[in-house]
Point group: C2
Chain length 214, copies 2
DNA sequence: TAGATTGTTAATCGATTAACAATC
DNA sequence: TAGATTGTTAATCGATTAACAATC
């Protein structure tokens, strides 16, 4: 548990990957020390918020100095669980499934893609970056036998709930769902429904905001 | 402007696409009338919040009855600007660019993909769903000549800011950026930095939450 | 009319910002 | 030591929830 066993709010949790990413960029630029003020300027947050956020997990800084970038990067990576390995499967080997296979940030950081599944006979048996595409009918058994932790759903929304149910039955710990329809899972399974079109619709809202007239 | 010219908070705006999506699902199920209470149950929100959210834009409901699903769906679609057409280009014709080309929610709703661009000579000249892939050197001129409104960035993070700068120079109104590095744009350009790996890292955080010990 | 459910105001809750003593 | 910057408490701000009169 975190300091004092206080649950960290989702608002903070959702900022952690962003801290991790910006700190990674600082390391690439050989910037090894940073104050909350400077980091805030880069990330578009207040210094106060950064200090509040980080202090949910511990006092990583040093008065008069700021934060050690490499150390903080590692700490946040640890908090996010990025120093562990996660066996994954992707369901749906179309463009999106393949895009994720190649996506940095997925290929790094201990995500171990074990297999892909599809219903399309033309894809089954093929290999993408050494990962075999199997028939979806083999999904449940494979997940059980190989202790798969994360199931990644890249199928159309019509089939996503069914796939999710199969994954839950086969005891995955978490589901990363890219179909544009929220899947429901029991409380003990972690779910992230991504719905990438939502950010596009936010974009069009903002394009038109100034001349909106209801 | 909205009712009383009060700016709607981003918290509300980011829920609008979700309302739109759930209402679309209700229509598919021939449910033509819904109360804030029922909708809240389906979406995991309180009835109160739904009524507050919708009343930022107008009184779409009717006392004693609830909301007309089709009407509300159309209203929210209008608020989101989904009843207009947006000329788009995709930069980066790899898996991710192709995945977006095929993604529902992008293909529908008035997003008109005009062209794709890449640096890979093996892709240039090819066609995806009747969309030609051109050399990235032609991007700026094309965007200017064709009044492109939205640029969609699907290139690695090393090149994303440069592409964004080109798009801004060529007067796009908005950028939808999938590279896992935030691009900066002037205030008058709308930006959505998606960073899909952030939701994955949130997932791993939640997997480990209970046994986190700093 | 009676029941249901909205629109809207008020109350509460939580998240962000400000301030400052502690300390490197 | 003096200057810088943290960790943390208090103040503020904004978002969510509750309550209820209005009304279909």
């Amino acid at each position: 548990m975190q300091r004092n066993s206080v649950k960290v709010s989702m608002a903070v949790v959702r900022r952690l990957p962003k801290y991790h990413r910006y700190l990674g960029e600082l390391i690439e630029k050989d910037i090894l020390r940073i104050s909350s003020k400077e980091l805030g300027k880069i990330m578009g947050l207040t210094a106060s918020q950064i200090r509040q956020d980080l202090n949910c997990f511990g006092g990583f800084g040093q008065q008069g100095y700021g934060y050690n970038v490499v150390e903080l990067y590692k700490e946040i990576g640890h908090i996010l669980g990025l120093d562990k390995e996660y066996k994954c499967v992707i369901i749906g080997a179309g463009n999106l499934g393949q895009a994720i296979t190649n996506y940095e940030g997925f290929r790094r950081e201990g995500f171990k893609l074990m297999a892909m599944f599809d219903i399309n006979p033309r894809l089954i048996g093929n290999t993408i970056r050494d990962i075999k595409i199997s028939d979806i009918s083999e999904l449940e058994e494979y997940v059980v036998d190989n202790d798969i932790v994360i199931g990644i759903i890249c199928v159309p929304k019509e089939n996503s709930q069914e796939i999710a149910d199969t994954l839950v039955k086969a005891n995955v710990r978490a589901i990363w769902n890219f179909s544009p329809s929220d899947v429901k899972v029991p409380e003990d399974v972690v779910i992230e429904n991504v719905a990438i079109n939502e950010s596009l619709y936010t974009l069009t809202y903002l394009i038109n905001e100034d001349n909106l007239d209801i």
